[in-house]
């Protein structure tokens, strides 16, 4: 569904994204994983053309989206959406929840019917009366649910989840991951899941690409890579992940 070829982006002299290529199949959860500064977030922004790449191709269902003008791009935006990391700044503090979620409909001039909003709220697990509330009245996890609802209201085919659980507590994190799994199967979505937490990636993704300093160092099926990493950086990363089992702890003598 999505094919990225030789994508690059420089910020000044730093190669944020350095000639990367990968493919995402329809219906899979593909994860871009790496530490801060590796370029995964920038890649997400490039795919949505919130940033312009220096070179490379991005093919969405065979069409090179980099060659499209802004107005043609706008029509395509219906098909790919993004959920952001920080629930505290990704929602307009002066808009009500209901308006935030429905805004994409207004931008595209679509009338989806009165049943859409309640249905969406149910899918992401928010009570109906939240429609009139403001973001500051909601918890972090609830705000993330609003962000998810906003991203799927246009029925996109492709979703980018940019570090969506990174600032959440472990229990809320698990709930949001469940919501993601639920909407994925309901709407037959393809998801690009950007994260730095390998354990989270391990519980969700089908295929994984490990990034370091703007390059993809290893890419493939998650189970294979995690059980048998071939690149030294991947090994280093996997070794560093803390294991929630004191018996297996590597620090105790």
């Amino acid at each position: 569904m999505l094919k990225v070829e030789n994508l690059s982006k420089k910020f000044g002299i730093i190669n944020a994204v350095d000639d990367i290529s990968f493919e995402i199949e329809k219906g899979e959860i593909f994860s871009l994983v790496g530490e801060s500064g590796c370029g995964k977030t920038t890649t997400g922004r490039l795919i949505l053309r919130l940033l312009e790449p220096d070179c490379g191709r991005i093919l969405f269902e065979g069409i090179d989206i980099l060659k499209k003008s802004q107005s043609e791009l706008k029509k395509m935006r219906k098909n790919f959406q993004i959920i952001f990391q920080d629930p505290y700044t990704s929602l307009n503090p002066r808009m009500r929840v209901g308006d935030i979620i429905e805004e994409p409909l207004k931008v595209f001039g679509i009338d989806a019917g009165a049943a859409t909003l309640p249905h969406l709220l149910e899918m992401v697990g928010l009570p109906l009366n939240y429609v009139k509330r403001f973001p500051h009245e909601l918890s972090g996890g609830e705000r993330q649910r609003v962000g998810i609802a906003r991203a799927i209201i246009l029925n996109p085919k492709f979703l980018i989840a940019d570090e969506v659980v990174s600032s959440l507590d472990v229990i809320i994190q698990a709930q949001i991951l469940d919501v993601l799994k639920r909407i994925k199967s309901h709407l037959s979505l393809t998801i690009l899941f950007i994260a730095h937490d390998l354990a989270v990636v391990g519980s969700l993704a089908d295929r994984v690409a490990v990034m370091n300093h703007g390059k993809i160092v290893e890419i493939g099926n998650k189970d294979i890579i995690f059980s048998n990493p071939s690149h030294s950086y991947t090994k280093k990363l996997l070794c560093a992940v803390p294991i929630p089992d004191p018996i297996k702890s590597k620090f105790r003598k």
Binding site: D169, A199, F226, P246
Partner: protein, 260 residues
């Protein structure tokens, strides 16, 4: 060594009184790493700030005792407690970058605390600072002394914070989410550093976090907090193998496991 008895902390908000910490009991011995785990808002950071009497309005300590070698820290005057802070009990925070003053070099900031507590002159304090930087395994300590905070990475800054914290040989280190904002490889190094400090310096550590996996890696005892109360407290092996409280079970279930 440190005994928290029945601590209660309240704060006022919109004419209502909210109890942030509701009667908790916790003990930390020498050479022991105690983990305080819970979701955000459960009160764990409040507990940490109470130990050194750092709670500010609209919060206030409403009851309980915090005994340090027998003396109640909550009853100490401001001069007395200032002598405890940094030299007997130290604290490090989540974001090292905002805990350091951007206009002073790293060396100056570490030596400041040494000079305050131990009265050393500038030269000797700087030398001591350099020794500390190598104790915390920073590469090239002599160079780092002259650098400014913005020139160092998050992991290095956290090491600097730890160096400042152990500068005067405290017996207890309070670490409030020290690894939460760090990359996983750096996190692993800081966790290793904390265990080394415990083993080599006999340091007691109160490790506050919401990450259960790090707790499993380095803690000896674990206390689980929810809504201001400790719902379960026991040694680390028992908590993970046979959790008694429902909340602990819920937490453990939610932790994502790396399937290897």
């Amino acid at each position: 060594m440190l005994q928290i008895k029945n601590l209660r902390v309240e704060y006022e908000s919109d004419n209502k009184i909210i109890t942030a910490v509701d009667g908790i009991n916790l003990t930390i011995e020498e050479k022991q790493i105690v983990g305080l785990v819970g979701g955000s808002g459960c009160g764990k950071s409040t507990v940490a700030l109470s130990i050194l009497n750092l709670i500010e309005k609209p919060g206030r300590i409403a009851g309980g005792q915090i005994l340090w070698d027998g003396k109640d820290l909550l009853k100490m005057g401001s001069d007395e407690i200032r002598k405890v802070r940094g030299s007997q009990i130290s604290m490090i925070f989540q974001d090292p970058f905002s805990s350091l003053n951007p206009v002073f070099t790293v060396g100056d900031q570490i030596s400041e605390t040494i000079r305050y507590h131990e009265g050393l002159g500038k030269r000797s304090a700087l030398l001591r600072a350099q020794e500390l930087l190598s104790d915390v395994m920073i590469d090239n300590p002599a160079l780092r002394l002259k650098q400014y905070p913005h020139e160092l990475s998050g992991g290095m800054l956290q090491r600097v914070m730890i160096a400042m914290a152990i500068a005067c040989g405290p017996k207890l280190l309070i670490a409030d989410e020290p690894t939460t904002s760090l990359d996983v490889t750096v996190q692993s190094e800081i966790l290793q550093l904390m265990i080394d400090l415990k083993n080599n310096l006999g340091l007691g550590i109160l490790f506050i976090t919401h990450n259960l996996a790090s707790v499993a890696e380095i803690c000896d005892l674990v206390a689980v907090m929810k809504d201001g109360r400790i719902v379960e407290q026991s040694d680390v092996f028992k908590i993970f193998e046979k959790p008694a409280s429902d909340y602990t079970k819920e937490l453990l279930k939610a932790v994502p496991k790396l399937k290897c």
